[in-house]
């Protein structure tokens, strides 16, 4: 097992830059998520780590060794493909033992290792079946088996649950996480599903347009997004954004929004011009005394909570409130925010302003 460090990684395809400059570190034994919308460069980054693409520039270190230009076979990593990529002309046993055969391992040892893996993944009963007739879940297990049988330095997974149906996905996600915890293997996992990333990852890198937007633990990223893109991409429903013209001074803790003062965490930097106030729906509550008022457009019942959409002068705002709280479509309500949880963004760059609250998370960037 090993630490993986990616430094200023860049990949150009002709005039298009798939990955512009990625820098992050995957600690030994971590379950690490590469998250982003399609086309953001996450898969390209993973493929460069695997050696399936060569970087245009930058370095990749696996276990302290620079491997950027090395062949995939020399990196001692395992890769799990979205479409599983099981060799169709071999049965399950041969598929799993294939990486061992390439190392010239003795037959008895190969058999023992395959049996071991089959036991861990509970696929002993299908070992001699052809892979063609297997269900999606079993194929996934075989693909995992082929990856873990080698005891590689790291596992790289490209949306491994993407081809499974929703119900089974949940189950496989738990299984995968349990397997990781048991083996303690460094794992890099690519996904476009923010829930999957939050649920499974120790750490998340959020990428967009080939750029790393933010890198940290799921809760840090959820609570203190570094950019407006991250704030919008993570969370369902996403963060509310209220755009306004105004200013905040370094050390200030109040902005004026539509003539009304709103408390925010003490800012570490000053900016005036176009600003955006970001508030998570669960930190947005009904307040009869607030001057920020709007009409209820819709309510969405979610069991213990409900999402209420309110149209205000600053756009539509969603609020997550307990289901038993009264909210009727058409009525006018006041809204206020939990001051400690708010983030201010520079509207032009989308960057979050440093404040007393988020500097612990964003300060080191």
């Amino acid at each position: 097992m090993a630490q993986i460090r990616v430094q200023n990684l860049r990949k150009d395809f002709g005039s298009f830059s798939a990955v512009k400059s990625s820098t992050f570190t995957v600690e030994d034994g971590e379950f690490f998520m590469l998250l982003g919308p399609s086309g953001c460069g996450k898969t390209t980054t993973l493929r460069m780590m695997a050696g399936l693409e060569l970087p245009t520039s930058g370095e990749i270190y696996i276990g302290g060794e620079e491997v950027g230009m090395k062949r995939a076979s020399q990196r001692d990593i395992a890769f799990v493909f979205q479409m599983f990529a099981l060799y169709p002309h071999m049965n399950v046993r041969k598929n799993i033992s294939y990486p061992l055969v390439s190392q010239g391992m003795k037959r008895a040892e190969v058999a023992a290792r395959v049996a071991d893996v089959a036991r861990i993944l509970k696929i002993e009963n299908i070992l001699d079946k052809p892979v063609g007739g297997l269900s999606g879940g079993d194929r996934q297990r075989v693909a995992l088996g082929r990856a873990i049988v080698r005891n590689p330095k790291a596992f790289l997974m490209d949306e491994p649950l993407g081809a499974l149906d929703a119900e089974f996905r949940e189950h496989m996600a738990e299984e995968l996480r349990a397997l990781h915890d048991r083996m303690g293997a460094t794992t890099v996992y690519v996904t476009h599903d923010q829930l999957e990333a939050m649920q499974m990852g120790d750490k998340i890198v959020v990428m967009n347009h080939g750029v790393v937007e933010q890198f940290g633990r799921p809760q840090q990223i959820y609570d203190w997004p570094a950019t407006r893109f991250v704030a919008a991409f993570i969370g369902s429903p996403p963060m509310n954004f209220l755009e306004f013209e105004g200013s905040i001074a370094a050390g200030g803790s109040q902005v004026t929004l539509g003539g009304q003062g709103v408390q925010v965490p003490v800012s570490r930097e000053g900016l005036s011009g176009k600003l955006t106030l970001g508030a998570r729906p669960e930190h947005t509550r009904f307040d009869e005394h607030s001057a920020l008022r709007g009409r209820v457009l819709a309510t969405e019942y979610l069991g213990t909570t409900q999402i209420v959409t309110v149209r205000t002068d600053h756009g539509e705002i969603k609020s997550r409130i307990p289901s038993n709280q009264h909210a009727r479509v058409g009525e006018t309500v006041g809204l206020s925010f939990d001051a400690r949880t708010l983030t201010l963004f520079d509207s032009l760059t989308g960057r979050a302003l440093l404040s007393e609250a988020n500097e612990g998370v964003l300060g080191h960037v």
Binding site: S73, S102, R150
Partner: protein, 313 residues
């Protein structure tokens, strides 16, 4: 039940369909059966009118095909004593004796060498080129592919004269290598295009998985891509072989002796000792066998290959 029903057809429908298929099979195989039958007729039965469907089978045609004979007066024949072998006996009736082996065996052997040789070369080169076109960034890839296809846009025989002159200059006339090269050149475009289609259908992830599993690019190609391309390779091989095996025009033009293939040889049987149709038919029958065996061996692949990719899996 309507005639467009997707349900299982009824017994009567199956019967009609079966009868039609058998009728069609009979019509198409009739010429073939006629040739095979003619090979076993005596020369007089072969040219009998009305044609004889029931006849006394003889292998005289086959004996004539493989031998050269000479006619002898009866008293000299009697002086030779009784015929030594069964085939001597057959020809002795007509007042001839066998003087040696004909050149058919050699011509047939030439056909085998040239047909299978050019097919093998076509498959090796075609697979390599198709893999490269399918997987790698090749500069001017589309133009090159179009250029390769364009070699098929005229009948090859249209360039017979330049090829004839070229072969004479290069000393390739009447050599195995010459015809193998020519048939490979003609078939290669077909082979590259067909195989590229098959290789395109094989997901690249299989090779990537093999690369990560510790194999080199060539091992990945050899151990993962080739087994999956087997269907395509088999059907391409059959197309190439059938073309090279049946080719007549270039074979007539470019070979005369050592490298002559069976197609130009078989018609020359007529004229050597009269219109010996049974011998011609026997030659044609034997000539059919290799391609038939080859096709039957690969027919499962051929059927899958022809419809491959028609329906997305």
């Amino acid at each position: 039940m309507s005639s467009y029903s997707v349900a299982e057809p009824s017994g009567a429908q199956k019967l009609v369909a079966g009868a039609l298929v058998i009728l069609y099979a009979c019509i198409t195989s009739l010429p073939l059966l006629w040739i095979i039958a003619t090979g076993f007729k005596s020369p007089s039965d072969a040219i009998a009118y009305p044609p004889k469907v029931i006849f006394e089978p003889t292998v005289e045609g086959y004996v004539n095909l493989f031998t050269t004979r000479t006619r002898m007066p009866q008293e000299q024949l009697d002086a030779l004593g009784p015929p030594q072998t069964w085939y001597d006996k057959i020809v002795r009736k007509d007042g001839v004796i066998i003087t040696g082996a004909s050149r058919f065996a050699g011509r047939f052997y030439n056909s085998v060498i040239i047909g299978f040789g050019s097919t093998a070369l076509c498959i090796v080169l075609g697979t390599a080129a198709a893999y490269a076109f399918s997987r790698f960034k090749v500069p001017f890839k589309d133009d090159l592919l179009f250029f390769i296809l364009s070699t098929r846009m005229m009948p090859p025989i249209a360039v017979a004269i330049p090829i004839f002159l070229m072969f004479r200059q290069l000393g390739l006339s009447d050599t195995h290598a010459g015809l193998i090269l020519l048939y490979t050149a003609v078939n290669l475009s077909l082979s590259v295009w067909l195989l590229k289609g098959f290789i395109d259908e094989i997901p690249v992830e299989y090779e990537e998985a093999a690369l990560i599993d510790g194999y080199t690019r060539f091992q990945a190609f050899y151990k993962v891509v080739l087994p999956q391309a087997a269907t395509g390779i088999a059907s391409t091989a059959i197309f190439c072989l059938i073309f090279a095996w049946n080719e007549y025009a270039f074979a007539v033009l470019l070979t005369s002796g050592t490298a002559q293939t069976a197609p130009p040889f078989i018609p020359t049987i007529i004229g050597v000792s009269g219109q010996d149709w049974p011998a011609v038919a026997a030659g044609a029958t034997i000539f059919l066998v290799p391609v038939m065996v080859f096709t039957i061996l690969l027919r499962k692949h051929l059927l899958r290959g022809i419809t491959f990719g028609a329906v997305r899996k």
